[in-house]
C-alpha cells in the first residue's frame, strides 16, 4: 500500500475516532472543539488526496473546508453559545455506554455495506467509504440522542463532514460547481441556524428540545 493511502487511512481512522468522541461528549464547548478538529482533519485529508492523485481542484476544496468547517462554523457556534449563554452539559436520551455500543454496531453495518462497493473502487482510498458511511450514521445517532438544539446542529454539521469525506476520499471530490454550491448551502444553513437559535430562545426561553413537542396528534 502506498504511503499516501496509508496516510488517508490514518485520517479516516482519526475521523472515526473523532466521531465517536463526539458521540460520547457531554459538553457543548468540547463538541465544538471536536467539530473544529474534524474540519481540520478533513482539510488535511483533502490535501493528502490532492497531493497523491494530482487533483489540483482538491486544494481549493481543502482550503474551503479549512476555512468553513474548521474556522468559520466553529467560530459562529462559539459566538452563539456565548451570546446565548449555554455552556452546560448536554444530557443525552440514552446513556453514553449504550450509545457507544449502538455506534459500534453501526460501524460494523457500514463496513459490511461498503464492502461490495469498495471492491469495485479503483481509487487508492477504497477503504474509506465504510468509514464515511459510519460517520454519517454516527452523526445521525448523535442527533437522535441529543435533547438540546445546539448539539443537534453540531451533529447535523458532522454529518455534512462525513459526506464531504466520502466525496473527497472515494471520488476525489465532486465537480467544483457542486462543491461550491454545497459550501454555500452549508454556510447559509449555518447562518439561518444562528438566527434560529435566537428565535427558539425567544419563543421558549431555552434551547431544550423538550419544549418543542407541542405539534402533534392528540
Amino acid at each position: 500500500m502506498p504511503f499516501s493511502a496509508q496516510l488517508i487511512n490514518l485520517m479516516a481512522a482519526l475521523l472515526l475516532l473523532i466521531a465517536f468522541a463526539m458521540l460520547s461528549q457531554r459538553r457543548i464547548l468540547s463538541l465544538i472543539y471536536l467539530f473544529a478538529w474534524q474540519g481540520a482533519v478533513l482539510a488535511a485529508n483533502s490535501v493528502i488526496v490532492a497531493w497523491s492523485t494530482g487533483q489540483t481542484h482538491l486544494y481549493y476544496s481543502a482550503l474551503l473546508t479549512l476555512a468553513l468547517k474548521a474556522i468559520i462554523l466553529p467560530w459562529i457556534l462559539h459566538r452563539l453559545i456565548i451570546r446565548l449563554n449555554i455552556k452546560w452539559d448536554v444530557e443525552t436520551l440514552i446513556n453514553i455506554p449504550t450509545t457507544m455500543l449502538v455506534g459500534i454496531a453501526l460501524v460494523v453495518i457500514s463496513f459490511n455495506l461498503a464492502l461490495p462497493v469498495t471492491q469495485l473502487a479503483g481509487t487508492i482510498t477504497r477503504g474509506t467509504l465504510g468509514i464515511a458511511i459510519a460517520m454519517v450514521l454516527l452523526s445521525f445517532l448523535m442527533m437522535i440522542t441529543r435533547r438540546k438544539a445546539v448539539p443537534q446542529v453540531i451533529g447535523f454539521l458532522a454529518m455534512e463532514n462525513g459526506l464531504f469525506f466520502a466525496a473527497t476520499s472515494t471520488t476525489y471530490g465532486m465537480p467544483m460547481v457542486v462543491e461550491l454550491g454545497i459550501a454555500l448551502d452549508v454556510l447559509v444553513g449555518m447562518l439561518i441556524l444562528g438566527i434560529f437559535f435566537f428565535q427558539v430562545r425567544e419563543a421558549f426561553d431555552s434551547l431544550d428540545l423538550k419544549h418543542m413537542e407541542k405539534l402533534r396528534e392528540e
Binding site: A121, I133, V153, E160
Partner: protein, 483 residues
Amino acid sequence: MNEIAFVLGIPLFGGLVLAFRGGRPGAAMLNVLFSLLTFIAGALLTLRVVGEGALLAYNEMFFVDSFNVFLVALTAFVSFTTALFSRPYMMNEHHHGKLSARMLRLYHSMYQMFIFTMLLALLTNNMGILWVAMEAATLTTVLLVSLYRTPASVEAAWKYFILCGVGIAQALFGTILLYFAAEKVLGAGGTALLWTHLNAVKGELEPTVLSLAFVFLLVGYGTKVGLVPLHNWLPDAHAEGPTPMSAVLSGLLLNVALYAVVRSKVLVDGALGTRFASDLMMGFGLLSVVVAAFFLSRQKDVKRMFAYSSIEHMGLMTFAFGMGGPVATFAGLLHMTVHSLTKSAIFFTVGHAAQKTGTQMMDQIRGLADTNPTIGWGLMLGGMAILGMPPFGVFASEFLILTTAMRDQPWATPILLLALGVAFAAIFTRVQSMVFGETTAQRLPHPPALIPVFVHLALVLLLGLYIPPYLAAWYRQAAQLIG
C-alpha cells in the same frame, strides 16, 4: 436558450430587489409582477421546447425535456397565481398586525428566491446542482415557516429544518455514490454528474453502487416528498407557515422533490434492470397513502389536514411512478399537475377562511358558503376535487392509476381504495361542516383574490373532461422518457 436565463434570472433578480424593497407598500404588486414575468418566460420556454424538442443549454448545464418543462410551466404558473393570492392575504395579515414590514420584506424576497431554487432544481442538468437547489429550497422556506414567530411556528420551522436537512444530506450521499459509479464510466470531472450523460450510459453503471445510491436518494428526496415515515415535518410546516407558503410547498416543492426521485429512478432502473427501485417506490407510496388517510381522520387544524392530504397524494404519485409503464407514468404526471392546481386552490380558500374566522381550527369555521359564497363554494369544490370526485381531473389520474394497478398490481388496489375511502370520509365531513351551517365569519379589510381559485378549479375540471391533444402528447413524451 435565453428563455432559460430569463426563467432563472427573473426570480433571482426579483428576490434581490425585494430583499431591499420588500417591505414597501407596492412590494406585493412587485412580487406579482416578477412572478408574472417568470410565468411568461416559462411559457415561452415551454413553447420552444414543445416546438423544438429537448434542449441543452449553457455548456450542458441546463437540460430541458418534456418532463421538466411541464413542471417548469406548472411551477411558474402556480407561483404566479399564488403571488396573486398572497397580495391581499399578506395585506390582511399586515392589517391584523400579525406581520411587520420587515417580515413582509423577508417574505417577498424569500418567495422569489424559493421560486428560483425550484426552477433551478428543475432545469439543471447536474445531479449535484439539483441537490444544491433542493437544499436551497429548504433554506429559503425555513424562515418563512417561522415567519409569525409564535412558539408553534418556530417549533415547526426547527423540525422542518432539521428533518429536511438530515434527509437531504442522505440525498447528497446518494449523489456522491452516483458520481462514484459514473466516474468510472465517464471519467472524473464535470460531465460525470450531468444527467444527460448519465442517462446515456446508465446501462453500464455499477448496479451495486446504484442500488445503494438509490436508497440514499430515496430517503433523502423522499423526506422532502413527504413519504411516510419521513413525513413528520410536513404537516407542522404547512400548518404553521403563512398560507401562500403552504400552497407553494404543497403544490410545488413536493413535486420538485418527487421529480428528483423520478430522475434518479430512471438511472437506477437503467443500471439495475430490475424492479428494485419500482418496488421501493411502490412500497413507500402505498404506505404513505394508507397512513396519511388514517391521519386525516384525526385532524382539527384545517391546514394540517390538507397537508396530510398532500402526503396521501404524493404517496399516490410515488406509487404510480413506481409502477411505471406508459399509462401509470402518464397518470402520475397528470396527477402532479392536478394535485398542484387543486391543492393550491384549496389553500387559497382555506387561507381566507382562516383569516375571516380568525382561526385554523375547523370546529370553529362554519358556514362559509353563506357569508362568502365564493370562498365557501371554492373550498367545497376544491375539497371534492382533491377527494377524487369526478368530473375533476384528480379523478382522471386516479382512475388511470387505479385501473393500471388493477392490471399490474391487483393486490395493491383494495388497499388504495380503502385508504381513499377513509380519506374521503375524513376530509369530506370536515369540509362540509366548514362550508355549510350557520356562519361564524367576518368581513376582511382587503377583499380576497379568488380568481386564482376558480382558474385552478376550472383547469382541473377541464382536465377531468378533456385533455387537450398537445398536452396529452406532451405527457406521453414525458412518460416515455421516464419509462
